[in-house]
Amino acid sequence: MKSYTEKIKEISKGLLEEGKVDMVIGYRKGSVPLMHQPFFAQNQQEIDEFVWDSNCGLNLANYVTDRQEKIGILATGCNSRNIATHIVEGKIKREQLYIIGIPCKGMLDRHKLAAMADGPITTVEEDEEKGTVTISGDGFSETVDKTEALQQNCSICVHRNPVIYDELVADEVKEQTRDEVDPYAGVKEIEAMSPEEKWAHFDDLLSACIRCYACRNACPLCYCPLCFVDESKPQWVGKSIDPTDVRTFHFLRAYHCAGRCTDCGACVRACPVGINVRDFTKKLEKDCFELYGWEAGMSTEQRPPLDTYKPDDPEEFIK
């Protein structure tokens, strides 16, 4: 990953020096393990703070919404798909962006690792040769395969390379195929449940929700100036932590992401209480793939399926 970081710095330097962009958006080293900070650089000193490794989880597409400047931006596979979605939805212009493509090897799951650790984690070390991650803290040290330490969305990811970019920081990584990994294994588990079991599953899933809206705000798709949960005329949903209101919020938010979600995992990563919000969104992603053959953000030309009508759209549900 060192080579990635060096290359990012080199490209950023060139972009700023040549005046091609006004700022470059990347990450700087975080003050706690597993958490780097989205950061913009406008000079050499700031470029020097850039870092790239498996702790750059928050989707940077969030940071270009409606911006007017010319921007250099790092983009992994999913980030680039969200940038493409932004372009399609008119939230940024392609010509404003210089996309520094990052072939991605996945991000570490901060919730999973915290749960594995026998105490607070103070350091995380990655051995790229061996493909392992070592977490340690006061009186413990544990080494696991990186594949086990990855965010779930990363471990099943089939688009690790950016779909749009101006320059890559390294050669493309090998893509996982749908034969090797089943992106929908988690969804299928829930689909196999009875209605009661499903209801109970989501009750349990959401029981810890504190409605901080980190999932929504970490999501690059959630850029509405006024979210439906915040509207008062009419008020669509209550604001307390009543289970019905909490579920309504999650259900409707997921639905607003249907056909647009790239499964970047920012929502899950941001959640302070570790709720797998993807249990909602992944189902919609699966349906869009199976019903419409659609994967979000693969091109800057096509609008998402729920945004368009075709005479041959499936309509079995209408009786």
Binding site: L58, P120, I210, C212, K239
Partner: protein, 359 residues
């Protein structure tokens, strides 16, 4: 102050007895971390845990709470006349194993809810009926900075009892009448052996030495409020990263802001108080459309200025933070209050520069 010894098996027996007299709240494991929750009959709190994910402030100040209710039926006596709900329950409760940093947040919050002019009956009644059995903290996190934020891992100032884990037994400081009463109800009264207070002191020094990160606050009161407010260098980068979620405020033991919402169900209307967050644009949004804190930067600055400057000036009693470190470890974009605090403390308005620390 009296110090007694509670063998760990006596602890378990005592907790069993306490179930009869108190609603007990303690740390329980929720999936991969701990939260504070009401214990079921017979259930014991976990005493070996990294501090709870979200602060236990909701024990006294629930995230959502019905504060008033009335009927919407013309035939009822309380038709459209709001009154306190009839089913409010302020039974005696005890929090077992609360950390000193969380207990130390209560007087900071109290000064908001208990003023000369107005008293919040809900917070105060819940607070007054709560006995706090604290657990001195031997397992601080890397994000903890309580020792430089007016608290400390062995700070017993705001507890009724403080337990110190001493191997096969707890050494228990009985600090208040409430604590005395609870110890009595649990049947804990064994004298300590000689040197107990020395062991506490020794453990305290050990725990404190584990806390290596700190905030500098000595210069905050001297800084000009408007200079800090205008110090772009402090706010710009953090505001860029901020996604304006409410994680920091909801996890924080010293944040208290709330919203009030009316809900009608059937023929009954409820006035509900919900936690709110200064991070949300709607928090200050006028009906006219104008928003005095309309940008991310405004809102992020409000949170830190509130805790580290406005309240330093208002109460002249230090920062509105006990150093529990939750916002540091939970912020999805790593905005670190320690870093911001040190920047504010060291800001030089002449040169518009400040010291930037690693954390």
């Amino acid at each position: 102050m009296k110090v007694i010894k509670i063998d760990k098996n006596e602890w378990a027996d005592g907790v069993e007895k306490l179930h009869d007299n108190y609603r007990l709240i303690g740390a329980v494991r929720e999936k991969s971390y701990h939260i504070f929750a009401t214990l079921k009959p017979g259930q014991k709190p976990e005493m070996e845990y990294v501090n709870s994910r979200i602060s236990p402030k909701y024990v006294i100040y629930p995230q959502s709470e019905i504060i008033l209710e009335c009927s919407m039926d013309e035939n009822d006596e309380d038709y459209k006349v709001y009154h306190e709900p009839g089913d409010k329950n302020y039974e005696e409760k005890a929090v077992l194993g609360v950390r000193p940093c969380d207990a130390d947040s209560l007087p900071l919050v109290r000064r908001n809810f208990d003023t000369d002019e107005y008293k919040d009956p809900y917070w105060l009644q819940a607070f007054e009926t709560t006995t706090l059995v604290g657990l001195a903290c031997d397992a601080p996190c890397p994000s903890c900075f309580c020792t430089s934020a007016g608290s400390g891992p062995y700070n017993d100032q705001n507890l009724d009892i403080m337990l110190v884990d001493n191997g096969d037994h707890y050494l228990a400081e009985i600090l208040t009448d409430k604590g005395e009463k609870l110890a009595g109800a649990a049947g804990w009264d064994k004298d300590t052996e000689q040197g107990a207070e020395d062991s506490i002191e020794k453990r305290k020094t050990g725990a404190e030495s584990k806390i290596t990160s700190k905030v500098n606050t000595d210069n905050l009161a001297n800084q000009s409020l408007l200079d800090l407010y205008d110090a772009t260098i402090i706010w710009e980068k953090a505001a860029f990263a901020c996604i304006n979620c409410g994680t920091c405020t909801y996890a924080c033991p010293t944040c208290w802001c709330f919203d009030v919402q009316d809900e009608v169900h059937g023929r009954q209307s409820y006035r509900i108080r919900n936690w709110d967050s200064c991070m949300y644009p709607l928090f200050t949004h006028h009906a006219s459309g104008h928003n005095p804190r309309g940008t991310k930067l405004d809102r992020l600055r409000q949170r830190f200025m509130h805790k580290l400057k406005y309240y330093v000036d208002k109460y002249e009693d230090g920062i509105q933070c006990t150093g529990c470190g939750r916002c540091v470890s939970l912020c999805p974009v790593n905005i670190d209050i320690r870093r911001i605090c040190n920047m504010m403390n060291s800001y030089d308005p002449e040169s518009c520069t400040c010291e930037v620390t690693a954390s």
